[in-house]
């Protein structure tokens, strides 16, 4: 085999060229770079200390951290539910005055039509344009808690987790305008027939 090479060597490398030769590849005997060594040792030291701290000495686990975080969230929820969630006639009137129905239509179209379809004719969820209601009496005060709390067993989400309280009032006011409009193509009635009551 031809062992002649035109190996490129810098002047400061000639004395550290090892005479191992593999298919003409040679190696230098440079020391380990000091910054590399430092990184290497620090990585190992960190690993040992971190493991001891968290898995032997009992520093807070991920689940401990979560418990703390969740307690804070629950506090916020309690506060929110204390302040909201009860139907307030005065607020509803104010919302309607402020163009609530129109705003509610936007909320409805963003969040509700996947199940109730445009104009509330119903598909996955029930028809909102007839006089049959499953979880309420079709009035704003009885619809509000259904939207706010949801009916998780039947697939109605707890909208207070998603929508603001104002948005819930708005969408409820919009739904009220659909009531008894008997839109064409509506889903068959579900729930109990509610005799016409005074609205609003």
């Amino acid at each position: 085999m031809n062992d002649k090479t035109d190996l490129h060597l810098e002047d400061d490398e000639k004395h550290i060229l090892l005479d191992h030769k593999y298919d003409n590849i040679q190696e230098l005997d440079n020391p380990l770079p000091s910054w590399w060594k430092l990184t290497f040792y620090l990585g190992i030291i960190f690993a040992i200390f971190y493991f001891i701290l968290y898995s032997i000495m009992g520093a807070p686990s991920l689940r401990d951290d979560f418990k703390k975080e969740w307690a804070g969230i629950e506090e916020l929820h309690e506060k929110f539910n204390r302040l909201n969630g009860k139907y307030d006639e005065v607020k509803m009137l104010a919302i309607i005055k402020d163009g609530g129905v129109k705003k509610g239509q936007v909320v409805f179209e963003t969040n509700c039509i996947p199940c109730h379809k445009a104009k509330g004719i119903g598909d996955i969820g029930p028809n909102l344009t007839d006089e049959y209601w499953i979880n309420s009496k079709g009035t704003v005060d009885t619809n509000y808690p259904v939207v706010f709390n949801g009916v998780p067993d039947k697939g109605m989400p707890t909208w207070s987790q998603t929508l603001s309280n104002d948005e819930i009032y708005q969408v409820v006011s919009y739904v009220q305008t659909l009531h008894n409009t008997h839109q064409p193509g509506g889903k068959d009635p579900q729930g109990n027939k509610v005799e016409d009551e005074v609205k609003k």
Binding site: M1, T5, D6, L7, H8, L9, E10, E13, H15, I16, L18, D19, H20, K21, Y22, D23, I25, Q26, E27, L28, D29, N30, P31, L32, P33, W36, T39, F40, G43, F46, A47, I48, Y50, F51, S55, S61, L62, R63, D65, F66, E69, W70, G72, I73, E74, L76, H77, K79, F80, N111, P114, C115, D123, I124, D153, K154, G155, Q161, T162, K187
Partner: protein, 717 residues
């Protein structure tokens, strides 16, 4: 100081030649499969940008194609490249022809047959449902057999070597061959149901642990160590430079091999894996940073003094950039393993971004450099066009930059949206789709970046085939070397130097190095169930649900949906109670997933009515406008296959799922009864035609069951 002068070799002078034909074969296969892998990659990138690119065809829908892309990129493209490079360098480093020409051919054709069978099964949904280990059991066994053929050929050559000591490249090859064998076999264990279906022997947390020990080390020992070995051969050869530091080679080889194997659990941070195992995964990943960089330093510093050549020589140019990306990816890896960073990056597009910095930046570019080195040598000519190679270089670099930047920004953007909580303790973006719509533009950028990379590959394909065409396969060269005898022993050799003269001892030691971490991390979890608190409410799947779960696997749902609610407030707000280990004990295989292109499904059960799922599968946009999910309308057209149900239940029983004999015998009846209930509910809601014997019903049954056994228990139990 240089060591004592070279030994004077005596003894029998032998003649030998190299088997270069096998290298040429693997090179051609590398080029072809590389193009295929990237074509599929570009396709699925566009499918994420627009669902219409799925064309409503089940065989090419994202969930079926993504495994094809990853398997083709890793095992077909990088696999063939690895074999080409190893067979080329191994012979030359040892002054010996490959052990057996027939074994070499079996290795080649066997591997190509495996790739073809992967391409013929994955689009049909034939999968084990484990990432990067999707291929069903007959193919999994074939891989093991061919790998052993490779190993025999490799170690046989080592035994017949004429060079006493083994060069650092070969150390890496040895670690690769042994570790991949161990990983593949342990993670591949399963019980067959039919020729096309098997269930993993492990379940839930244990399956997750074994899977990510495998998955992570597939990256380590299939995409990193063999290519480091190739780097150690081809960079000094191409640069005509000595390797920078022999001592660094020794230290970084052993530390890399020993530490890498522990790092797998960093894929499972915040999951229900025991926390001490998670912590081990994290700290070893951080300790891995320096050993990984040892390879980059040795590579880049070897280029010292020849950087002017890097500017002009395509071979060196590709290698230098590959080493740079290797350094970047192996810094980012430890960074992403830190728990708090991981809580942001995990499940997002940052991870595919990171992975492609490795596979495109490191593997593809290094392979390009190696091919540009080998092809002219093996075809006795020059590179056809340096200009094309240059264009390729820049296209690939720009494409990868677009890919990486778009994915990291998409990942971080989406993650921040996921976790945003307002003053009322509510999610700021409660609708998952809002966070998707936001990053779709980034999916387009990624798809075009990927297209650039693909085009760059096509340029290389053209350039290399032109090079082959203009060259000739010359006469087979015959060399002379002394047979190995005592004259090759060095006096006063250091310990490691002596070890380099004993490859089999070397092999045993490296096997021990990888087995230590594997044993300490995995064996305790496998042998005892003490880490998993049993939850009495969690019961095995009903027969119909089990069939639905198999459809979930078949469609590759796990590639876009996770099944693991991490203990974080925003996740619990979005999805429901955080997951517990005891919930997954009947999950053969586990389906936690690693990416949330869509929302987590661990608590999907009961969240929506059956009708919602019915509409959603036929057209996701009916219920979620702007959804990017493909349509799955064939699920309402195809009849559910009940013929293997009894067998499936009894295989599950063998795996330890407590089905009674009555459960198994009445399985079909039970499934039909449950299907009737679901379809009656659907028809009640106005679904026009009879659907009770269709696949969708089984999938709905599974989805409605998921996470409910534990999820419906009162909180603060």
């Amino acid at each position: 100081m240089s060591s004592p002068s070279a030994v004077h070799r005596t003894g029998r002078l032998e003649t030998y030649s190299y088997d270069d034909q096998i290298v040429r074969m693997f090179i051609v296969a590398t080029i072809i499969w590389g193009a295929v892998a990237m074509l599929v990659g570009v396709t699925i990138a566009f499918q994420l940008a627009t669902w219409k690119m799925n064309f409503g065809l089940q065989w090419i829908t994202f969930g079926r194609l993504r495994p094809l892309h990853t398997n083709a990129a890793i095992f077909a493209f990088c696999g063939n490249a690895m074999f080409a490079g190893i067979y080329y360098s191994h012979q030359r480093l040892l002054k010996a022809r490959l052990f057996n020409d027939v074994l070499s051919r079996i290795h080649f054709w066997g591997w190509q047959a495996i790739i073809v069978s992967a391409a013929l099964t994955l689009p049909f949904g034939i999968t084990r449902g484990k990432e990067y280990a999707e291929l069903e059991w007959p193919i999994t066994i074939a891989i093991a057999v061919i790998w052993v053929v490779f190993a025999v050929n490799f170690f046989g050559t080592l035994i017949r070597r004429r060079e006493r000591h083994i060069f650092v490249a070969i150390w890496f090859y040895i670690a690769t061959i042994l570790t991949v064998a161990v990983l593949h076999i342990v993670n591949g264990l399963g019980l067959p149901v039919t020729i096309f279906k098997s269930y993993s022997v492990y379940a839930g947390v244990q399956d997750a642990l074994v899977q990510w020990w495998y998955g992570h080390n597939a990256v380590a020992f299939f995409l990193t160590t063999p290519f480091l070995g190739l780097m150690y051969y081809f960079v000094p050869k191409a640069a005509n430079r000595p390797v920078y530091s022999y001592r660094l080679s020794v230290v970084h080889f052993w530390s890399l091999v020993f530490i890498y194997i522990w790092a797998g659990p960093h894929h499972l941070l915040y999951t229900t894996l025991p926390e001490w195992v998670q912590t081990l995964g994290m700290v070893f990943s951080i300790a891995l940073w320096a050993p990984s960089w040892g390879g980059m330093i040795n590579g880049l510093m070897t280029l010292r003094g020849v950087w002017d050549k890097v500017r002009t020589d395509p071979v060196l140019k590709f290698m230098a950039l590959a080493l740079t990306f290797y350094g970047m990816a192996t810094f980012e890896g430890p960074l992403l393993s830190i728990k708090s960073v991981n809580s942001i990056g995990h499940f997002t597009d940052w991870i595919p971004g990171h992975v492609h910095a490795g596979t495109i930046g490191w593997n593809y570019l290094l392979i390009a450099g190696i091919l540009y080195y080998m092809v002219p040598k093996l075809w006795n000519t020059e590179i056809f066009s340096k200009k094309i190679a240059n264009t390729q270089f820049w296209l690939a670099t720009i494409g990868l930059a677009l890919y990486y930047v778009s994915m990291v920004s998409a990942g971080i953007t989406q993650s921040l949206m996921w976790r945003a909580i307002d003053v009322n303790g509510k999610l700021v973006y409660p609708n998952f789709i809002e966070t998707v719509v936001k990053i779709v533009p980034m999916y387009w950028v990624r798809a075009f970046g990927g297209t650039f990379v693909f085009i760059s590959f096509l340029l290389m394909t053209y350039n290399l085939f032109k090079t082959m065409n203009q060259g000739t396969i010359g006469e087979i060269e015959v060399f002379e070397a002394y047979a190995l005898d005592d004259s090759s022993l060095e006096e006063n050799a250091g310990h490691h130097r002596k070890l380099e003269g004993l490859p089999m001892v070397f092999a045993v030691l490296s096997l021990i190095a990888i087995l230590v971490g594997s044993a300490i991390e995995i064996v305790p979890s496998l042998l005892s169930n003490q880490y998993i608190t049993k939850i009495d409410a969690v019961k095995p799947y009903k027969p119909l649900e089990l069939l639905g779960r198999d459809i979930y696997l078949r469609e590759g749902c796990y590639l876009c949906h996770s099944q693991q609610v991490r203990p974080m407030a925003h996740e619990v707000l979005r999805y429901g109670k955080n997951s517990e280990a005891g919930e997954f004990i009947y999950d053969h295989p586990f389906q936690w997933g690693s990416k949330r292109t869509g929302p987590d499904l661990a608590r999907i059960g009961g969240k929506y009515p059956n009708m919602w799922h019915y509409r959603h599968m036929i057209n996701p946009r009916d219920v979620t406008p702007q959804s990017i999910m493909p349509i799955y309308k064939w699920l309402v057209e195809q009849k559910l296959d009940l013929s293997t149900l009894t067998k499936k239940l009894s295989v599950m029983k063998q795996l330890g799922v407590p089905y009674s004999d009555v459960d198994i015998a009445s399985g079909v009846e039970n499934a039909q009864a449950q299907a009737k209930l679901i379809s009656a509910d659907l028809m009640n809601q106005g679904v026009p035609k009879e659907v009770e014997d269709k696949e969708l019903i089984a999938l709905i049954a599974y989805l409605q069951r998921m996470g409910t056994d534990y999820g419906s228990l009162p909180v603060n139990k």
